[in-house]
Subunit: 414 residues, 2 copies
């Protein structure tokens, strides 16, 4: 992509009235744009990151036999009355349609997937089954905050699993814990993210959250110093010992919840009469699990964890581009940089090419650091005199000079 053509605008100065680093950096660097409180657009740079995160999640959901589908946001009131959430869920957006019909805007999809599964799952032979979608959800938050960390409209991956027995649900749930840890590792926040016990709702004693340590976090967690299991503050009082290793030393941390998973049991299968015929011909309720990840919040958390005083430092797996190619000069320097750009594209290396001739080196470097693309490649009169470019990793201090002929090979090694 040519930077001169990119739909974005940099803001050099720190924003007033933002309550998180990711909000400041993502807006200033042109990844997202705020339409109103709690509602954002993803600009082309942000959308590229978004797609990378989406694909990491998707691949991990396919590994656990999730089948992708797409359920709607617009829901009939009746489904939400059936589970008693029409009146009890305070964040539920409600609206009226033609003929004074009442609709909900879904903040989660148990009320859609359960009656849908009832049409398809009839017998134990149809189990286990898992479906997921990646789709925009709505929450009427009293107070949206922290940029894209807590919004009123947000993209979410939610997977729902269906089982014939508690044993099968337990086994699948453990698989999902592994899949989630793998997702956060692939997104570059593995080291800061902890499996965290939290309150379990109606069915299981505990649910599992995935909490990422950051000062922007709204949650307080206690990390076991011995085994690394964490416990949410809300259940810490019940647990003075670590439920896993029985150690008693914990560290208190602020954290953001980047995912959570629940054993729902029969909570939603009962109201929707989602039953199956078992091997013994008995009709039994299907057991369910649900597993969510908010993509915007994950994106914001990645930035909370990966930044320095100059800007974002994207992990390569989710970076909008691998390489930021920067032209410093005109004439022959430009011809050389153009050629390098073409070569990188031909080698399927994702590159943003700062081809602008009316910006100073200082401005270009500052923008590049703010944007946070992993590899910066500078083409200048000085470098091309030696048939070279300057290569610097965003996360490292020192640059090195390498021959242009070695650039693709060097980048592919990294």
């Amino acid at each position: 992509m040519l930077q001169s053509k990119l739909f974005y605008k940099i803001n050099k100065n720190k924003l007033a009235e933002v309550d998180s680093i990711s909000h400041d950096l993502l807006v200033r660097a042109g990844f997202v744009d705020q339409l109103m409180a709690g509602v954002y657009s993803y600009l082309p740079l942000g959308f590229l990151v978004f797609k990378k995160i989406e694909n990491i999640i998707r691949q991990n959901m396919i590994v656990v036999d999730g089948q992708e589908l797409l359920m709607p946001a617009l829901n009939p009131k009746e489904n939400w009355e059936k589970t008693d959430r029409w009146n009890t869920l305070d964040v539920l957006f409600k609206l009226k349609g033609a003929g004074e019909k009442d609709y909900a805007l879904a903040p989660t999809h148990e009320e859609v997937v359960s009656p849908l599964a009832k049409k398809i799952i009839l017998s134990y032979k149809d189990l286990p089954m898992a479906v997921f979608h990646i789709q925009n959800k709505f929450r009427n938050e009293l107070r949206a905050k922290s940029g894209i960390l807590r919004t009123r409209e947000f993209m979410m991956k939610d997977l729902y699993s269906f089982h014939a027995s508690q044993e099968d649900l337990d086994k699948y749930y453990d698989k999902l814990i592994k899949a989630y840890l793998n997702i956060f590792k692939q997104c570059g926040i593995g080291k800061q993210t902890y499996r965290t016990l939290a309150s379990g709702g109606s069915f299981a004693k505990y649910s599992d959250e995935f909490q990422t340590i950051t000062s922007a976090g709204e949650d307080i967690i206690y990390v076991c110093k011995k085994c690394g299991l964490a416990i949410n503050k809300e259940i810490k009082a019940e647990n003075d010992k670590c439920p896993k290793c029985e150690a008693i030393d914990f560290e208190e941390k602020k954290a953001v919840e980047v995912g959570n998973i629940f054993k729902l049991g029969t909570k939603y299968s009962t109201p929707f009469e989602l039953n199956f015929k078992d091997k013994d011909s008995q009709e039994k309720p299907v057991l369910m699990g649900c597993y969510g990840i908010g993509l915007g919040r994950l994106l914001g958390t990645i930035v909370e964890v990966n930044n320095d005083e100059k800007g974002i430092v994207w992990p390569e797996s989710v970076a909008p581009f691998k390489v930021h190619l920067i032209l410093l000069g005109k004439g022959k320097v430009k011809t050389t940089a153009d050629k390098i750009y073409k070569t990188l594209l031909e080698n399927n290396i994702e590159v943003l090419y700062d081809d602008r001739e009316d910006k100073s080196a200082g401005e270009k470097f500052a923008e590049s650091d703010l944007l946070g693309i992993p590899y910066r490649v500078i083409v200048s009169e000085r470098t091309i005199a030696k048939n070279s470019v300057e290569l610097k990793e965003r996360s490292k201090k020192d640059a090195k000079i390498i021959k242009i002929s070695q650039l693709v090979k060097t980048l592919n090694k990294n």
Copy 2:
């Protein structure tokens, strides 16, 4: 994908109370599920088709320099007041959020993209520019109908273009006409789809619709017998001659509008003060164009055009799978079919494998015809006796016997 594990359910019998073939076929074959009037889920089979259509559209938008982003559905009232559409657009869904704030659910995105572009487009150097997104929109239809052809929530690709001059807008608009015709051709409805002149709204005399001939259509168009340009009924009275070739012979047809494009001019740049500084340092309003395609309606139209008395006949470009591999038998037949399945996957051939052992051949064939996958491959005792399979194209009458060793090569040739 193993059919025994697929999240779907076939309904053999024609549905009561449906008003289009695509509605009947897509629901019965398990591609979509109706949640309520005008609101559908895309089940895994439908979602696969959806993704193929999405990618065809995306690739064609990238060719015309469209940059992908993602704008939200939840919109502030103020933006819709600014264009006077808060009170005049009868299909606008309205809702209240926390603090009694008024929101709209966007049925189109001029009210979001125009103020966004104002932050980014400042000078003639920033033009032309084009952005698009593929996102769910909402219309409070009085009467949803024809299955997924007219719904209350729908996925839409909308591209917005920004220009410094009328000449540049005209040139880009013509490019988009070609891109649209290419999309419909790639989706297998090229022969039935006509560029159609329609009323132009406030700015241009005419807009262009893309209308696909089908009896499920709500529109009446007149196709010029000489040059193939079509005219929407709403403007036929003004045109007794073809505006392109001046011929006077037309054929009246029912059609579905699968896309439409508009020259908006300054209609939205004026209220949002989307201006740019021209070469002569004068401040001028940006000229805009908008270009929409509803993905669900396109999917439904593809089925309206591509079906027979037995079911859907997917064009290969958008089929959920290329091959439907059908096992007829057990023991050695199953071992052979399993091996063929593995070989097809290893060769990156998309295959649905009907591995069920408790269904009759008749049931399997009927399901296969209903699902409409382009190539049916049967493995039975009779075929494996000759180290062969039976290969039949869904769109053709006759099957042929081919050696198992030749299957991949034969499929890749097609």
